[in-house]
Amino acid sequence: MQFTDEHKALASNVKNFAQNEIKPFVEDWEKNGHFPAHDLFKKMGNLDFLGITKSTEYGGLGLDYSYGMVFAEALGYAADLGVITAIGVQTDMATPALDRFGSDELKKEFLTPSILGDLVSAIAVSEPGAGSDVASIKTTAQKTGDDYVIDGQKMWITNAKQADYFCTLVNTGDGNVHKNKSLVIIPSDTKGLSVGDKIEKLGQLTSDTAPVYFDNVKVPQRYRIGEEGDGFKMQMEQFQEERIFLSAINLALLDECVAETISYCKDRTAFGRKIIENQSIHFKLAELQTEIEATRALIYRACEEFVNGNDLTNLASMAKLKSGRLIRDVSDACLQLYGGMGFTWENQASKIYRDGRLTSIGGGADEIMLRIICKYMGII
């Protein structure tokens, strides 16, 4: 992938922003159990960070996804996957289908303010009984006059406590489970919508995650994105950006983790010498950096397919699978090199060990990625 001066300037700008406007506050935000989404998103909206690939008519920059990926990678310098993932929800999970298929009216009402950072969005797909198996969701939308009446429950919803609207996958009909769904925008202040208690998670503590309940929730049918019945297809498309984003955010984060571990090993003495001098340790660190670079190359290649307008499902699935495995391997290996310190909360390796575990689960678990890859290989 060829990066222009503008790509490099964007990367350097986002890195500075992440290091100065996010990283210093992460410890407090973890203690609070959430980050101030409206404040942070407004700052990012002012710098055009939230509409990089979105249509120019609605306030976006209209750039290709290589810029979105550079943005995602540089966000890694914030050193907190909770905030970074929440930003990704706004840019690459809850809004791509709205941008591609939403009506002019719907985009003006929801997309433009999201790009400006005035509205916080959430994507509501998973349910207690259907996560990876998206087609089995149970939430329904019944037509009544010009409205939909929505009943059901969504689970694991990032930004749930602070979101102004939910891009929600619902069943708008019966029959074929791949053709009976629609994506509907549901404002969070709609009567009958309630957000449950924050879920206590293993990691990503800066991000508020909660269930969302719909009890007789009435929204106008014009809040539907695109044609009725196209929701599953649109969501599958929307997953591709999500997967590149979720893969790319681990790269700079892991570069930093390895660099910090090297510093620690150069400083730490055991058995009369710096532990970095042990071949088992410096070779291990070289292996880890090589794995990061190999994964980076795969992610860049998946992105290139996307930019060239090709089907990226196979490569995006491989990228997310590999990135999820990578973050587990690298954080675990670095944590081990920290020894007792690794088991405390005072280093990046243990934080990434907690936060990074989600990459192999969210946005389609590793097993789903493998299933997709198998299908592309013609195995099943």
Binding site: D5, F17, L47
Partner: protein, 253 residues
Amino acid sequence: MMKIAVLIKQVPGSESPLSIADSNVWLDEEKVAYIMNESDNYALEEALLLKEGTQDCEVVVVSLGPERVKKIIREGLAKGADRGMHLNINSNDVTDPLSIAKIFADALKSENFDLILSGLQSDDLGHGQTGIIIGELLKMSTGSLAVSTKLDGDQIAIKQEMEAGFFQNVRMSLPASITIQSGLNTPRYPSLKGIMGAKKKEIKTLDIDSSDQKLKISKLYLPSSSNEITMIDGSPDQIVENLVKVFKSEIKI
């Protein structure tokens, strides 16, 4: 139209590896991560704020150095400067403030700037004189260590930082060359629209002959350190007495 020049320098970043080149007169450029000099960044922000508060105002970012300095010129353009000037010089040989100021004065003279802002000093060489000498060479009013600026017709009012916590309010007529203290504003991040728009803005390149220089660095080296330890033994009173002697005569506190 009000014309403001901002002089920006590219310097090694505070987190950059700093290894000395084989020539022993400068850093190994290949390994250095360069950034915009900190106080120049504040000067740029001050210029952009003045532009926003003034009708019909142009901000020009000017940098002296090799090709690589275009990066910070583009950064300035992305933040909102209208055009750039690159004073292209092949090497880092010119290091004395008088030679540097003469180069700038020659390049800027025909532009007739109303105001020249620069950071109070560079983070690498730290002479802190360039902006003031330029003002003198171009027969402008000069001010240094400004912690606030306010344009008022054909004058500018600045608050200058003095020693021992004192400040001085000064009003001077334009044109003026003023050096800016860090911390007087909050430098903005460039927006992505700014970054994408910067490539359409003009960067004028002037090739500079660096042969006329008065001062050269003869050697650059790290301070030597030693691990010498002196143990002071005796009773507490003797230890204190000897320690005070060491402080007075050897360390010279």
